[in-house]
Symmetry: C2
Subunit: 441 residues, 2 copies
Amino acid sequence: MERTLILDCNQKVGEKVKICGWVQVRRDHGKIIFLDILDRSGVIQVVATPDVAGSLHPQDVVCIQGVVNKRPEKLVNPNLETGLVELQAEKIEVLSKAEELPFDMGSKELDLQLPTLLDYRSLTLRHPKVREIFKIQEVVIDAFREALKKKEFTEFQSPVIIPQTAEGGAEVFEVKYFDQKAYLAQSPQFYKQILVGVFERVFTVNKTLRAEPSVTTRHLTEVTTLDGEFGFIDSWEEVIEMVEYVIKYILSRVEKECGDILKTFNASIPKVSEKLPRIKLREAQEIIFKRTGRDNRKEPDLEPEDEREISRWALEEHGSELVFITHYPVSKRPFYTYEDPDDLGYTLSFDLIGRGTEWLTGGQRINTYDVLVEKAKDRGVDLKKSELYLQAFKYGLPPEGGFSFGSERIVMHILGLSNIREASLFPRDMERVDVRLSTLK
Amino acid sequence: MERTLILDCNQKVGEKVKICGWVQVRRDHGKIIFLDILDRSGVIQVVATPDVAGSLHPQDVVCIQGVVNKRPEKLVNPNLETGLVELQAEKIEVLSKAEELPFDMGSKELDLQLPTLLDYRSLTLRHPKVREIFKIQEVVIDAFREALKKKEFTEFQSPVIIPQTAEGGAEVFEVKYFDQKAYLAQSPQFYKQILVGVFERVFTVNKTLRAEPSVTTRHLTEVTTLDGEFGFIDSWEEVIEMVEYVIKYILSRVEKECGDILKTFNASIPKVSEKLPRIKLREAQEIIFKRTGRDNRKEPDLEPEDEREISRWALEEHGSELVFITHYPVSKRPFYTYEDPDDLGYTLSFDLIGRGTEWLTGGQRINTYDVLVEKAKDRGVDLKKSELYLQAFKYGLPPEGGFSFGSERIVMHILGLSNIREASLFPRDMERVDVRLSTLK
């Protein structure tokens, strides 16, 4: 007998079908046993007698033959897509028997401590509220691609193994590369700039790896980043406008396609004003000083509490939960960042702050070979190892800029998750690569 | 003045426009200079006087103002999308000056030795015939995603850093992970199988890394692989059928969208029969023995010359340039491969051979926890490090299978490239990571 997808049972009232899926919940009511069965299309209630249901328990994988019936009116479940019907089981075949679960997977919330959530990741990912996080990530990434394809960007594949770190930073993983050393890419920065010379407009969805030596709620060692870069900009503000377009595109697709998931998380996409507010770092610090008396006006960056305060300001004054902070000092930005000729010492770069924390970073880049080489030397970048990168500028690169953001962080802030590890299928940090590293010693 | 994309000049005859792009070719004809200018939309011929053209040369980045004119009839170029028009230059602004090129980039073929092609990668990628290879890669990857989304597969992001190699192989890169060791993923195998338990059907586009110790024309250390995996299969043949569907979907999109590129390469997509031929490895060896007298009937795998011979056979006998070879011996396949209960010692696995070489590998997997643990132990897999993987089976996984292939290899064989390095933007091998490693010592 052919398999019927659970959602299609709605159209099969009175017919005999075979469904296949996982037992989610078993409820024993004496002579009647109710089973919630899940497949990729949805969930259905199955009614079985004790001899048919046997010893079935959650996570058992089954195929069930039976007849689809209309539910009695008072048993209709308006919260279930198949809530008007149920399957009267006649025969149950067990495809794979699950062990007894270490905790209850049947309740609406999966109330576990983070280490347990991760120690049992292959199981906990099956909980609807955990699984749905990654449906959001899928939509975010797909919307990112779609938004940029509409603007004639070309998708490319950026390398993971690199000869040196692009940004001169220390937090880079080292790889034993035959009898030499190589490194893991912290960003596709060099490659996307090179490819502006080839395709003019490019984007990539790529793994980036950082040896983050600290265990915080917002850092991972492995992240799926979304990067765009494009040439022939008249001004750095075109980069900001492209970011506005992309972010709004992503948020609107999440709102349209993931309404149910947002409801499950009691979440909503951020409020955005028609034009997102843009202020210089120094202006932000001045505002924060006036609002709180906290004087960070000489700092080269925003502290976490500053990011939260400027987010409150943006919402109150501009009705936006997203705000651009621009003009970070030259010293705080990578060597390739364009200095503002009208505001020396400060760069044509920006962060997008959302709901109290950094979402995205971007800006205009230096596109003149000689200037770039000089800045690279100043920061101790190995010119030999950066040969291909510099070559792109040697042979003509237009004024250009771009942006970069982590898919996990955006998902985290859309859903209001408290720890970024929840937004990664298999989170990696100092302490864990699937298993706790301490247990391997 | 606003920029006009070059292709849009077709609609602007008689109008004054500004185009921006790269000088591709300069042809001096005394008092008239012709410039081919390229942007992301296309190429246009610009006509300039010597004083306007100045010292412009290839790869200079320019904005040119002028009037779009119809070409005189005998100068129409039917091979150019803008071949009916040309731009009479009035003013040229140089945005970025290129150095003198080390070789001619203006001819139809870029006739360079591979080391030079790669030493100047940021420049050579700009040659149309090099650039177009990556337009094919973009379409292959996009078509892969689209094909599987139509079959209700969920896209996921698979980790690069892993606690151990999935397949027990030796060719794995080691990473210094804080004060411990980790490895780079050779495949997303474990993770896609885990996620069959979560989403039932999944796919991923992912970097995979192999410490290939040999320098061949068909191996790279870093590859962009396309992986699919799905549950509730009735038989391993469903996996073969899914592969047929995906491959045909990809080829048909390439044919439809990249006709011009195929023509440039004098290439065509492979001929395929309605149902691709499927034969057991032993049958293939028998056929090869009969056709050539070469007796490899006791070998556990096909030699490269066998792959070519069986491809010739498939084309002659079945009119197909693609052929499935099935039933590789248990010993030659990873520990998780399903053994054929009707043909013990041989697996329900397959390779897809295309145009004389392996394109893709797939099969049914063991989905019973106890059997899997036993096979893993036999092959020396570290069970502790594979905890999450085994957990998926402990808590119920349906019969499932999947497949995996490299995007570079498919592009190489569609276009008939002679070396896989040509199908990777920034190829990595034993000898090169952007720069030649020998020059760094």
